[in-house]
Symmetry: C2
Subunit: 236 residues, 2 copies
Amino acid sequence: MARSPEGDRDVEEQRVTTYRIAVIGGTGPQGKGLGYRFAKHGHTVVLGSRAADKAESAAGELNERLGSSDVLGASNVDACEGADVVLLAVPYDGHDELVATLPLDGRTVISCVNPLAFDKRGPHGRVVDGGEGSAAESAQRIAPESVVVGAFHHVSAVTLWGDADYLVHEDVLVCGDSDEGKAVAIELARCVTGRDGIDAGKLRLARQLEPLTAVLISINKKYKVHSGIKVAGLDA
Amino acid sequence: MARSPEGDRDVEEQRVTTYRIAVIGGTGPQGKGLGYRFAKHGHTVVLGSRAADKAESAAGELNERLGSSDVLGASNVDACEGADVVLLAVPYDGHDELVATLPLDGRTVISCVNPLAFDKRGPHGRVVDGGEGSAAESAQRIAPESVVVGAFHHVSAVTLWGDADYLVHEDVLVCGDSDEGKAVAIELARCVTGRDGIDAGKLRLARQLEPLTAVLISINKKYKVHSGIKVAGLDA
């Protein structure tokens, strides 16, 4: 699945692989922001959307920012063609139905889907499968011939889309049952934070990582910030 | 509920209130560690345990470390007498039954209880009330005349018991439905991190904070560290 490096734009010494990455939901803020970061660091990005023309328009926006013409747009299904990595960056509503339409066999699938609900008391986690499931686990069940990992749940879309080269004060937490799959997301985290993501355990821990975003949204509202998560104690 | 400052040992400029704090489960590592930090910063700590003699023995251990005789030990029920704050630092097994025995009316109750389960695949969150509950919410339901907040879930007991004056690289996340209750835990966080805890939203977000500890335990095992959580973006 790995490809040899192509081009030398922003290639870091530590990065060894260039991926072709399909961003499902690539016109949404999280998908577009992550696509921007991945493309900026030399990966080939194909933004996907339900409507190909919307994806192409978002790709044009990224190309303009990047001064390139490398970012592509396509329908969600077409975006997956030839992709090494498929990033699921879609709302939880309709998630399962959408995932079932995608050709994911043999691909590394990274889910940053956050099943959240909002009411007058603020944001909170939605209960998936009676508390014993998560969006990432649902995707793995629906696409058993893919390797699903959870990652990039907590990075603010606003910050991703901002000018900072790295979000050095945040960590990307990666969960999954395949070490090989996790290694891909751990490496891609470098495009966002400038360093490896953190192996946070098995895929079922997506039950904890996904709804944690509700806490960050609460903090954002209270303190008027774009908060993220950092794991303390790793540098000791 | 607030008392005037007593003594001047380790009193920080920013701290304005001295509390009498009952630590339920005060002989366990988390309870003893937090009790140590609170006592070190001038609060009156009463360690509680099912057996008063065990609590007295743990209190003796704290007094020896602190060079004081101020830390007390008592049965869990007796420890609550006269307490401003009751810290629940007990295992989730038997939690509800124990809470029901405690005189909590009118007190600020801080729950750092983590409903976790462990199997051969590692730690994960236990499902409380079909995914729509948490230990903190259970405590609030059982003791409706108390004010329950969730906090201190993620601080490693090993680190609490260590020599560092502060755990400056970690944050204490506080959730609750009462701003007054949250203010107490936010202030007490200073004893641990050297600065205010973070208001993380409503009490129901304990559903997210409590099982996050499973992720930290996974990280600890993988990287051989004592990890904690820091919220990024607040200092910006």
